[in-house]
């Protein structure tokens, strides 16, 4: 243990000496500080002394605790730590192994009574210290903000630590491997970022294909989806006080990032054929789409189903059309299955972070009107529902387990090279 602690302590000193560590920590502090400045009341959001009219996002519809948790998950973790923070962490840690392997430095370490394998994995674990400390401090600060400002003490917030560390470790393992092979900090960093975007692209493509496949199975006309959006005609007016706006409502209500929606409510609505309550809003549909899905797909969802129905009625040959869609569906399924297979062997970064949302956000607490208005019941909704079911059915094992297997494979390969190399 003396050696392990020495390496960890040295890693801490190394981080302490790097300005980047403190820069990231300071930005984290600013993010948490910004959370603390945001409040929610009956009129909407309040940022410091400025009141924003964000109806229906008011304390009547959304509890302060839920609001803070949502901000923590979506902005604090989803945007800051999982993207910008991770890139900064990679910049800070990419040099660990190339520096370690530099002549004159590695000699001093491998000549000590510590096996190379242990040295490798201890250094690797020490490299994760950067993110562990950052996300640990960030989670603690978020916990306190939500506790004091939102009135809810949510220990589940600390699930962010293992999940974000896991997420970072996928990329860090690749960075370590490339660092050992190339012995170059810059090369390992750039190639890791390229790999990250590749993984992201595969994930997004897989989700998109799944969506199209499901739509094809549901008989949604893709050509119709390519038409410019039409004004939505509400099937039945619901709340005169909050009149439904035409298509701009749909477009405008599309969240920048997908928003979780009560599943149970959504699906029950989709299963029922009657009544305004059962109508599912377009925004909710898009909200259910995993964040990996591209915006083009969200746009595709924003088409008017009425026009789609009209066109279908107008077409005379429904049988041949159904056959064609079935054929399309089959091809899409093959393409999706291939991508799904590829994705199984790759780290699932987006899904790993999304697990935090599953853990923290109590979907049933979300207001029906918070992210859109109940409008429609149609095949697109059915397709979306099925896609969400499919994605939600993916187990934690598939998301984290296979990703960790990928990481283990990459690390084993890197360790093999490290152990057998002459320095």
């Amino acid at each position: 243990m003396t050696q392990t602690w020495a390496i960890f302590y040295d890693a801490y000193r190394s981080l302490n000496a790097k300005k980047m560590f403190w820069v990231v920590l300071a930005i984290s502090g600013l993010v948490v500080g910004a959370f603390a400045l945001v409040g929610i009341n009956e009129h909407g959001l309040k940022i410091a002394i400025w009141q924003l009219d964000t109806d229906p996002l008011t304390s009547e519809n959304v509890s302060p605790a839920l609001c803070y948790k949502w901000m923590f998950v979506e902005i604090g973790i989803g945007m800051w730590l999982a993207w910008i923070g991770t890139i900064l962490a990679l910049i800070s840690t990419a040099g660990i192994f190339p520096d370690l392997l530099s002549s004159g430095s590695i000699d001093l370490l491998v000549s000590k009574p510590i096996s190379r394998l242990r040295l490798f994995f201890t250094q690797y674990a020490a490299g994760l210290l950067f993110v562990t400390l950052q996300v640990g401090i960030f989670s603690l600060a978020g916990f306190l903000v939500i506790g004091f400002r939102g009135g809810a003490w949510e220990p589940g917030l600390f699930m962010a630590i293992p999940l974000v560390v896991c997420f970072f470790s996928y990329m860090f393992s690749v960075c370590v491997f490339l660092g050992i092979v190339t012995r170059s900090t810059l090369a390992s960093l750039l190639l890791t970022l390229v790999f990250w975007f590749f993984v992201y692209g595969v994930g997004a493509a897989e989700n998109a294909l799944l969506m199209f496949q499901t739509m094809a199975e549901q008989g949604v006309d893709f050509k119709e989806m390519q038409r410019p959006p039409q004004p939505i005609k509400p099937a039945q007016p619901t709340k005169p006080a909050q009149p439904t706006k035409p298509s701009e409502t749909d477009q405008g209500s599309l969240p920048q990032r997908p928003v979780a929606v009560p599943e149970a409510e959504l699906f029950s609505a989709a299963d029922d054929d009657s009544g305004p309550r059962e109508q599912v809003s377009l925004s909710k549909e898009s909200a259910k789409v995993p964040r990996a899905m591209g915006r083009s797909l969200l746009k595709a969802l924003a088409q008017d189903p009425q026009a789609e129905g009209d066109k279908k009625t107008a077409s005379g040959d429904e049988t041949s059309e159904a056959d064609g869609k079935k054929h399309d569906s089959g091809k899409l399924k093959i393409a999706h299955d291939i991508l799904y297979g590829v994705k199984t062997f790759l780290p699932k970064t987006t899904e790993t972070i999304a697990l935090l949302e599953r853990t923290l956000i109590d979907l049933a607490e979300l207001p029906k009107e918070a992210f859109g208005q109940p409008e429609r019941q149609n095949k697109q909704a059915e397709a979306t529902k099925q896609m969400v079911e499919e994605i939600r059915s993916r187990s934690v094992w598939w998301i984290v387990g296979t990703s960790l297997l990928f990481e283990a494979f990459v690390l084993a390969w890197a360790a093999l090279i490290f152990c057998r190399r002459d320095f």
Partner: protein, 401 residues
């Protein structure tokens, strides 16, 4: 000390019989042969016992071609060799930094590559690089911790060693601000941080000023007096000559000479008789007439480096024609200019020559017993073995040894 009395030849004879197996350390992927349970007590006492150490890089560059080397406990052992001879590779193999293709032998009585043994070994690599964010004291404590030294002990030793290498004033200064000489001093202290039984130093005086070199020599001698073994790899022959009791000369991946300085240079002992007067034909005629043997011109290139074989940068003095003969008593005698050399360390053998020279009316200015310097010996050994760098390069590329 029993082992010291055995000759190297005797030790070599016991070697192959005792080689009974292999040991592999999976974590490092090392494959070493090792001495089995019948290891002799003599070999067990050796600080370093290397046999058949071979290393080939990329299947074509033969860095080491079967090294045989013995280092006894409590001595300072010098490893010499020209650039590219494989010295650093050998040191790195001893310290498990480089994996040998084949290695047989022991370090402190344990098979080579045995990691726990390294807790008793201190190592100063050439061109070492410490983390710039550590202070001198922190660096010593860090590397001592990696060598499994307890917390209290390493703190105590860190301050002691900083005092020893004259760096206590900069104990809490970041290493990034140190000069090369200061870093070298910290490096030496680092090598001693685990109170090792064996200290392996690769160019320890590199970057040090004369005062620093002298202090380093004193530290090495102090270590020897404490019973520690020092394995010293250095280009500075003068340094090695001053502190080492035994040396090995490595050329093109092979040990070409090994032994104590006395053993190695004894054969070169000779008497030099200095004659009064300039090197004139008259003086030469008188000497020829005086010596009781016939003198013949010695072949050109009898000096360690012939003019043609001298490497770039080496200034070869003008070669005065040397005449050589054999005395009736069997000793070789040489004459060049105003100097007569008799290759013997026996004073009695010189007396008849002195008498004969005086009998010819020659005035003798000096008579002294001369021993070849290590530098001369080194250059001769390298030259004899390889005939210059070209041969060294040829051998390293797979040519004949």
């Amino acid at each position: 000390m029993e082992a010291r009395r055995m000759s190297d030849r005797e030790l070599s004879r016991t070697g192959p019989k005792d080689s009974v197996g292999f040991v592999e350390y999976p974590s490092d992927g090392f494959l070493y042969e090792f001495l089995g349970t019948q290891m002799t007590a003599e070999r067990d006492h050796l600080a370093i016992d290397l046999r058949y150490v071979a290393k080939t890089y990329r299947r074509r560059i033969h860095a080491l071609r079967g090294i045989e080397m013995r280092v006894y406990p409590g001595e300072i052992f010098g490893l010499l060799g020209p650039n590219g001879a494989g010295k650093s590779t050998l040191v790195k193999i001893i310290m498990t930094v480089v994996r040998p293709n084949r290695a047989e032998g022991t370090i402190l009585g344990r098979p080579m590559g045995h990691k726990p043994t390294l807790a008793q070994v201190g190592y100063l690599p050439e061109n070492h690089r410490f983390p710039a964010y550590l202070t001198g004291r922190q660096a010593l404590e860090y590397y001592a911790a990696l060598a499994k030294v307890g917390r209290r002990e390493r703190k105590r030793r860190a301050m002691e060693l900083l005092e020893l290498v004259g760096m206590h004033q900069w104990a809490n200064t970041k290493l990034g601000t140190y000069s090369k000489g200061m870093q070298q001093r910290i490096g030496l202290a680092q090598a001693l941080s685990n109170d090792p039984q064996l200290v392996v130093l690769d160019e320890p005086t590199d970057g040090l000023d004369p005062v620093g070199r002298r202090e380093t020599r004193e530290i090495l001698l102090r270590l020897r007096d404490q019973g520690k073994t020092v394995f010293l790899n250095s280009h500075l022959l003068g340094e090695v000559e001053r502190v080492c009791s035994r040396v090995a000369i490595l050329v093109a991946g092979k040990v070409v000479r090994q032994g104590t300085l006395d053993e190695l240079t004894a054969a070169s002992e000779h008497y030099e008789i200095g004659l009064h007067g300039d090197a004139t034909e008259g003086l030469s005629s008188a000497v020829r007439a005086a010596l009781p043997c016939e003198l013949q011109a010695a072949p050109v290139g009898a000096s360690p480096f012939g003019a043609a074989a001298a490497p770039p940068g080496v200034v070869v003095p003008v070669v005065v024609p040397t005449e050589r003969g054999t005395l009736p008593s069997g000793e070789t005698v040489e004459f060049d200019g105003a100097m007569v050399r008799i290759h013997t360390d026996q004073a009695q053998a010189v007396q008849p020559v002195i008498d004969a020279l005086r009998g010819q009316g020659l005035v003798i200015e000096s008579v002294r017993l001369v021993r070849q310097s290590l530098e001369d010996f080194f250059i001769q050994a390298v030259s004899d073995t390889q005939n210059g760098d070209a041969a060294v390069q040829a051998i390293r590329k797979g040519g004949p040894a």
